[in-house]
Amino acid sequence: MQIETILNNQRVTLEIVPDEMLADTLRRYGLLSVRQGCDTSCCGLCTVWIDGKPTLSCSTLAYRVSGKRVTTIEGVQGEAEEFAQMLVAEGAEQCGFCSPGFILTVLAMKHELKNPTEEQIIHYLTGNLCRCTGYMGQLRAIKKYLGVE
């Protein structure tokens, strides 16, 4: 079947199978930044934005984004790079496998929360697992990015 969506700011028609998850569709269309780390919506690696809200694409039927705006990190390269610079300067991307989903969540948080406290930051990002970095360096990078050091 076909659905229409706005994918990374472009109106596109996607060919999907009815039971396909969005993460698989996006990868199939070459958006390889979308990663998966679990089968149980636990890790946050597959995070994309649907109408600007961070959403787990591994457990969202592709069908459901019909008529909606879907954004992957490929669609916000400028903004993502700005934060990624700070993350990388901290050394807080290790294997990097979790980074795209994590960065999208951080950017969404910046749009959503005004002057978040450390607790709020940690709470917002709890669903984004990272096995490599130990989270501390990511937090330092976020604080720099938000100017809340």
Partner: protein, 757 residues
């Protein structure tokens, strides 16, 4: 130093962080066959019949392979230098299945859906056997996990298959019983450390195809490309010259990808069908059918004089290696090897260890590699000894720990090259506020307390693992560094480039790094055993120095001088009298232009006959809820001696990441089975790795030392960082509520039951 010691950003950092295609799955061809594995539902069974006829009829199924279709040569999947000390106890597919999840059939189809449908259509009849599930009684169990006649080990590691023993070992220095008799105080305890999952974010995956010359190319998320090639050659019974293994970026490993897990399946399918094939393990498969940390029972006896001088240590370790013996003997040996040298006033030491087969998923390498288990047991016992002697646990350590220039019984006269562990303890105590906080403070329904532990690891495998590196001077004066090690995300590619840049006095941007393709890279055993910075690093330094010499020689020739009379500042080769010079760029293109020329390539190969230990002093501050037994980690301080810190930012993240993994082991993570041998913790819902809310605050500091055998004085850091959280947190919990947790993880339930029993 200009480049070494600087917190330079990772050379590939920005690109991997922003999601550029760089990992195995990103590179697989769209038309690759999709592979799924039919797995055993029984912990121990013999396959009586397999019927694949129905499955094969399904449109889109390309091949289905069972034990009848594979070579019958046993091998090991342990990523170790040949000849491996791990038993050759595997077949690609065996008639006997040895754990729930063991491979029964390989299915390749044009897409995932069809592969899964076909899997459901295969009919297997099993003769179910009595499984060995409890590792403590495995040696007496009537079932033999490996009854086969062709079970084989390259070395005598004490394998006794009739008793399900994969390895047994014993070392003794001095007379242990006599030494204990002379001790004023003897303490003893038995500990259990649980199996731990690696839980790297990128699950196991591999992709294969035939190149135009008909050679098998395997792209894999692996830490050990050269070992994978060798294992494939043996398992598939084809010459290694027909195989090329390429490692792209990998999404975490932690030792899990030091064991070959998935590569054989696509490789076999590609060989049989001529078509590209890929396999992507899902998370459940990764939890259920790869490997985990060896669960152990460790008994420690410690004896000391009345003044706190530790005189005798006796360790008895039993390790659960699961269905296959990957790293069975080597992991358990580190329980003693990385704990006994720490306390060097001893008169006698003994270490006895067994690793046993059971019908559970095989254990393998995991960051810390036995030292983690040993550290928990020995350090917990040292804390118990301090209490028995009414001494401050930090003081008893300062009094007994080995120092640089000293030796200890296991070192047999060799001297320790470097250590700042005493300084690490002093500084760590300041940072955690030991003086004010030790042992603890009752706050009403909560108690706050502190605890500590120290640890060591090694740097590379002494006398065995040897790495090579090459640096080419390219036609336009820049360099290409070729290495065979795997950057697990730790930044080792960057660190190695920093070392080359230092020697060649060039900016980091001038060095391109190409890592880990068995056709292109010089040999490297792979990234494990904390060896990359130390062993491969030294190979890189040697290669860079070699190239530097060649540049001087070639430059001198062009300047009609001799190498001793010219100098090179990274850009220009100048005669000492300053009269003549030639730029590197010009030298570079002249080296590849015209007849009789020769491109300059520096080579370096390095193996070390020592494995210098990095050290850590770890301090935990916890808050324990007396009403629930809940333990909250408030603060963790890790003071690290990794020799020269080559890149402070990357080193710091390594420590923070490793500490959090150690916190996971201490408080949350536990690989659990039901009574039939089914893995219960097969998703992130049941298997809890720490999330952001679970870790409290972590403070990391470095006390640099200088390791004379390391590149620029560096030692390793990757593994040592995971070892101290468990014993330090257990100690803090004891100081808080008087409950001595000897069985990890430290759950609220255990603490609560301990308080009110």
């Amino acid at each position: 130093m200009r480049v070494v010691g600087k917190g330079i950003a990772k050379i590939d950092g920005l690109s991997i962080a922003t999601g550029k295609p760089a990992y195995t799955e990103d590179l697989a061809a769209a038309n690759a066959l999709v592979i799924k594995i039919l797995r055993s539902p029984h912990a121990f069974a013999k396959i009586k019949t397999i019927d694949t006829a129905e499955a094969k009829k399904l449109a889109g199924v390309v091949c289905i392979l069972t034990h009848k279709d594979v070579p019958k040569v046993r091998f090991t999947l342990a990523g170790q230098s040949y000849p491996e000390p791990s038993p050759y106890d595997r077949l690609i597919l065996d008639e006997l299945v040895r754990y729930v999840g063991d491979e029964v059939a390989i299915i390749a189809a044009v897409n995932e859906k069809i592969a899964l449908q076909a899997r459901d259509l295969i009919k297997v009849e099993y003769e179910v056997l009595e499984p060995v599930l409890d590792f403590e009684t495995a040696t007496e169990h009537p079932s033999m996990v490996h009854p086969e006649d062709d079970l084989f080990c390259n070395f005598d590691t004490g394998l006794i298959k009739e008793k399900n023993i994969a390895s047994s070992q014993k070392v003794e220095y001095g007379n242990v019983e006599e030494a204990f008799e002379q001790c004023a105080v003897v303490v003893e305890e038995t500990y259990y450390t649980q199996a731990q999952a690696h839980a790297m974010m990128e699950t196991y995956r591999a992709y294969s195809y035939l190149d135009p010359a008909g050679r098998l190319v395997v792209v894999s998320s692996t830490q050990i490309p050269f070992h994978v090639r060798r294992q494939l050659a043996r398992a598939l019974q084809i010459p290694a010259s027909r195989i090329r293994v390429i490692k792209p970026r990998i999404g975490g490993g932690f030792g899990g990808k030091q064991t070959t897990v998935a590569e054989i399946f696509p490789a076999l399918v590609t060989l049989k069908t001529g078509k590209p094939a890929k396999i992507i393990y899902d998370r459940r498969e990764t939890f259920t059918c790869s490997s985990c940390r060896h669960a152990m029972r460790i008994k420690v006896r410690l004896g000391a004089d009345a003044d706190g001088t530790i005189r005798a240590i006796d360790i008895d370790a039993l390790s659960d290696t699961g269905a296959y013996g990957e790293h069975a003997s080597t992991v358990v040996s580190l329980v003693g090897e990385k704990t006994l040298p720490l306390y060097n006033k001893t008169k006698a030491l003994r270490f006895v260890a067994h690793a046993v087969y059971t019908n559970k998923m095989n254990a393998g390498a995991l960051r810390g590699f036995g030292a983690t288990q040993g550290t928990f047991a020995v350090e917990s016992t040292v804390n118990k000894l301090a209490e028995a002697l009414k001494m401050d646990p930090s003081e008893i350590r300062l009094q007994n720990l080995i120092k640089a220039g000293e030796t200890c019984l296991p070192y047999e006269g060799k001297l320790l090259g470097s250590s700042s562990l005493h300084r690490c303890i002093q500084r760590g105590k300041e940072l955690i506020g030991w003086q004010e906080k030790y042992p603890g403070k009752d706050l009403g329904n909560k108690v706050r307390a502190v605890g500590m532990a120290v640890t060591m690891q090694g740097s590379g495998i002494a006398g065995i693992d040897t790495a090579s590196a090459e640096i080419r001077l390219q036609d336009d004066g820049n360099y290409t560094l070729l290495i065979g090690s795997t950057d697990l995300g730790t930044g080792s590619d960057t660190i190695l480039a920093q070392m080359a840049a230092e020697v060649l006095e060039t900016p980091l941007e001038n060095i391109a790094v190409y890592a880990a393709d068995t056709d292109v890279s010089p040999y490297d055993p792979g990234s494990y055993a904390s060896s990359t910075t130390y062993v491969t690093g030294m190979a890189v330094v040697k290669a860079a120095e070699d190239l530097r010499q060649q540049i001087l020689q070639r430059g001198a020739k062009f300047l009609e001088s001799i190498p001793e009379e010219v100098e090179f500042d990274g850009k220009i080769i100048t005669t000492l009298d300053g009269t003549k010079n030639i730029g590197l760029e010009k030298l570079a293109y002249l080296s590849v232009l015209g007849a009789g020329k020769c491109q300059l390539v520096g080579h370096g190969t390095h193996g070390s006959n020592v494995s210098p230990p990095p050290f850590i002093a770890g301090f935990a501050e916890v808050e324990v809820d007396k009403e629930t037994g809940q333990v909250n980690l408030v603060d963790y301080v890790a003071m690290v001696d990794c020799g020269t810190v080559v890149n402070p930012n990357l080193a710091r993240i390594q420590v923070e990441g490793g500490v959090v993994q150690g916190i996971g082991l201490a408080l949350y993570e536990d690989v659990r089975y039901d009574q039939k041998g089914n893995l219960l913790t097969n998703s992130f819902m049941q298997y809890k790795i720490p999330c952001r809310k679970d870790i409290g605050n972590i403070t990391v500091g470095f006390e640099e030392s200088f390791e004379p055998t390391g590149p620029f004085g560096a030692k390793s850091i990757g593994e040592v960082v995971i070892n101290t959280p468990a014993p330090a947190i257990a100690h803090a919990v004891y100081n808080a509520v008087g409950v001595r947790i000897t069985k990890l993880p430290i759950t609220p339930e255990k603490v609560y039951m301990g308080m009110y029993k």
